[in-house]
Amino acid sequence: MPTEIQDAMLWALMQTYTNTDGKELLITKNTSLQLVDAIRQYFNANNIDYETFSYDDLIPYLPN
């Protein structure tokens, strides 16, 4: 994972997503799809190179 993963994790866990009912919900370590998408969004926005990764790759960086 890129060295910026910790910053990306902190940022991602403060973001929200909208479900299909239109409800805005907080991204948590249990919303794996939304968490990965947000991490990717952070990498893209900050021009950080990364390879294919999954939620399993994020587990070491999840907060307790």
């Binding site: 479900n19 009912d21 794996s32 990965v36 998408d37 990717r40 294919t52 999954s54 939620y55």
Partner: protein, 270 residues
């Protein structure tokens, strides 16, 4: 102990017994147990979601649509009562659809879902009544057994953020399960193909009447996490008896730059 506190104690005990009986009665019972019918829409004269039918631990739901109306009844399922998705129903005349505009009996496979609803939309006139009934996961046993909830959720692909067009292969041990439901959700911003396979390393072709071909599910996301039941497009998933299930995924044309893909396998143990 006063009479009041003794009465409270009796009430507590009664509630406890009632609760225990309720838990038992809600458990999966093989041998034909089914709860009473539930009125999901009661002569409604407007659009609305209606009352949810709890299908947890049940295999099949049958909805009877009654009334004289001009409206659409949408069959929808959920695993969390928050996100709802269309589900296929088979009418008593054999036609298949995820919605209806006429009265009749509609059978829906509901194993692994939490709830279903019959949402009314496009209401024009008349009144709509929908009554739902569920049947147990297993009803071929002659003896009665209490087994409780027992649906396992496997996640062979857990939020994979693809960045290339390389094909990837996954293997799921499905030997402990009597039947499986495969669900995919993609937010990838490119077209993705998912190909289930009977055991990894094989190709599973179906005959269309003129040729053999492998069935692949194509997902083209708009960024919203939509869950799709692969069994509805790959019917042999309903019948598979195997030690393993192979899954091939690939964005073959253009590498995605955002989003991810997850695949869930819900299994009912043997």
């Amino acid at each position: 102990m006063s009479l009041v506190s003794f009465g409270n104690l009796l009430g507590t005990l009664k509630d406890g017994v009632t609760q225990a009986l309720r838990v038992v009665s809600e458990s999966k019972i093989t041998g034909g147990y089914s709860p009473a019918n539930l009125t999901m829409q009661n002569a409604v004269t407007a659009n609305g979601n209606g009352t949810l039918l709890n299908v947890n631990e049940y295999a099949t739901a049958v909805l009877e649509v009654r009334g004289t109306f001009s409206a659409t009844i949408n069959f929808e399922c959920s695993i969390d009562d928050t996100n709802w998705y269309s589900i296929i129903a088979t009418k008593n005349d054999g036609t298949i659809s995820s919605s209806c505009t006429t009265v009749g009996l509609y059978e829906i496979k509901v194993a692994a879902w939490k709830s279903i609803r019959a949402r009314v939309s496009g209401y024009v006139s008349g009144n709509v009544t929908v009554v739902g009934k569920v049947s147990p996961l297993v009803n071929s046993e002659k003896s009665v057994q209490l087994t409780g909830r027992n649906v396992m959720k496997l996640i062979p692909v857990n939020a994979l953020a693809l960045t290339d067009t390389i094909a990837r292969y996954y293997t799921v041990d499905i030997s402990p399960y009597n039947n499986i439901t495969v669900i995919a959700v993609s937010t990838l911003n490119q077209v993705l193909s998912i190909t289930p396979r009977y055991e990894s390393g094989t190709v599973m072709e179906q005959y269309s009447g003129s040729s053999w071909s492998e069935l692949a599910v194509t997902m083209n996301s708009d960024g919203i996490a939509r869950y799709r039941i692969l069994n509805t497009q790959v019917p042999w998933l309903d019948k598979i008896k195997s030690n393993t299930l192979g899954i091939r995924i690939q964005c073959s044309s253009i590498a995605p730059t955002s989003g991810s893909i997850s695949i869930y396998v819900l299994g009912v143990p043997n």
